[in-house]
């Protein structure tokens, strides 16, 4: 597994980035970037949301669990929210979510938050370039668990906390506790 990661890094790995874009600003900015034929990397998968304030932080946690290499969340500039103050609420959540995930070991480069208005097609393209560079710089994401510790983990044994001890008194327990 370590080998394939090396190979992936060498061969310019193409990250998968999930972009949560607010319907009123950033999604329109992405549209504008497209219709103005601006070139930007194809690594992002856009998900249209009504407002960044609607984005449950748990969705971001789960998106990374499901295998995204990076996240981009973009909404209207502060003060320009279609729902008046949705993005102000969202901002606080992002800050705490970022603090939490970085503290638990997710590289800050994977978590990207920004603002983009409907007229900023150019800025959107440059944001995407920036985000792709950032995610590439930290390589593929291999999950919330520390890869070093997981190399010896025996998947058939399931969760160490839930398994019956075997005759050696619990293989997993000896290794990890």
């Amino acid at each position: 597994m370590a080998e394939s990661k090396e190979v992936a890094k060498k061969e310019e790995f193409e990250p998968k980035i999930i972009a949560f874009l607010c319907n009123w600003c950033s999604y329109a900015a992405a549209d504008l970037a497209g219709s103005s034929r601006l070139q930007y990397p194809t690594n992002i998968r856009a998900v249209r949301i009504p407002c960044t304030g609607r984005l449950n932080p748990l969705i971001v946690i789960k998106t990374l669990k499901k295998g995204a290499d990076g996240i981009l969340v973009s909404g209207c500039h502060p003060g320009d929210c279609h729902y008046i103050d949705g993005n102000y609420y969202a901002r606080r959540r992002f800050i705490m979510l970022k603090e939490l995930l970085e503290y638990a070991g997710v590289e800050p480069e994977r978590l990207n938050f920004t603002w983009c208005s409907a007229a900023e097609g150019r800025r959107f393209a440059s944001v995407v370039r920036q985000v792709v560079d950032r995610v590439k710089s930290v390589g593929p994401w291999d999950g919330y668990l520390s890869a070093d510790l997981m190399e010896d983990f025996i998947p058939e044994a399931g969760n160490p906390g839930c398994t019956e001890p075997d005759d050696k008194g619990g293989v997993i327990d000896d290794q990890f506790i």
Partner: protein
């Protein structure tokens, strides 16, 4: 100076005797010696029932959060003995309209001497009650416990990211997802918790190391603006998992960024139901020249 357990116990017995004489209420929640176990446990008695005052006690083993026990019978008028961290949880309930202030008689403990083996007490930043109708013990001067983050060496705050990732991987692998940490937490009161939700499914069936980690990240993400840093979660964990460092980190970061600490007043808005236009944007992508 914190008060001694003995002083507090004596005060509590006097106060409760007085409350029995003067006040109208339905139920009392206090700490006392268990009749069979001999341990300190919650003593819950109705007003009509007979109460042995000498049984009531407050020691360093009174780790249960009586504030959580209030939630079962919100419609009753309850008298509760509350540690300062309990009073913060109660203030939070009132601010969120979970319990009416009129239904509560709070007996607060001044200058809380702390609970044995609870790491939260070392970094406790409110050792006097936030709300109280009666108080036991002497008030503790504010400057003896008002700490800022720089004084605190909470777990792993200085380590680098890789060390922390290793630490949490190892730590949470032992988690059996029994949810005792959630059940013990005074500010976890949702009727429909994300861990049991199957529409949408947040946690997949069949736990494994990664689901354990996801459970803890999601639980922690529910905590900023609610966690009063009481340490009940860690005390409850049968596996001895140190998960409070996560919530504690967010507690201190919220204090730093937004000058916000939960449960300090009954009319306080929760962290996530309020905003300030001047909030900082740490780590946000900066505007590049278009």
């Amino acid at each position: 100076m914190t008060n001694s357990y003995k002083e507090i116990t004596e005060d509590l017995q006097d106060i409760i005797e007085q409350i029995y004489k003067q006040e109208e209420f339905d139920r009392l929640l206090a700490y006392g010696r268990g009749l069979f176990s001999g341990l300190i446990e919650p003593v819950i008695v109705d007003k009509e029932a007979e109460l042995d005052l000498d049984r009531l006690e407050f020691t360093d083993e009174a780790y249960q959060m009586l504030s959580k026990y209030l939630l079962k019978n919100r419609e009753l008028k309850q008298v509760v003995v509350a540690k300062p961290c309990d009073t913060r949880a109660i203030a939070f309930y009132i601010s969120e309209n979970i319990i009416a202030r009129d239904n509560l008689i709070v007996v607060g403990i001044n200058g809380c001497p702390g609970i044995k083996d609870n790491t939260a007490c070392d970094e406790c930043d409110s050792k006097n009650p936030v709300i109280a109708d009666y108080t036991a013990g002497n008030l503790m001067p504010e400057d003896e416990f008002a700490k800022d983050k720089s004084d605190l060496k909470y777990l792993l705050s200085e380590e680098n990211q890789v060390t922390r990732k290793n630490h949490y991987t190892k730590e949470f692998m032992r988690c059996t997802q029994c949810y005792a940490c959630r059940d013990a937490c005074p500010v976890c009161y949702c009727d429909h918790c994300f861990v049991e939700s199957n529409q949408p499914v947040w946690l997949e069936a069949g736990s494994g190391p990664e689901e354990d980690m996801v459970f803890h990240l999601m639980r922690t993400m529910h905590m900023p603006g609610r966690c009063v840093n009481c340490g009940a979660c860690e005390m409850a964990c049968p596996e001895g998992i140190e998960m409070r460092s996560l919530t504690s980190h967010l507690y201190h970061q919220a204090r730093e960024y937004f000058d916000f600490r939960p449960g300090l007043a009954v009319d306080q808005k929760s962290l996530f139901s309020d905003y300030n236009e001047e909030d900082p944007e740490p780590g946000f992508l900066q505007q590049e020249g278009d």
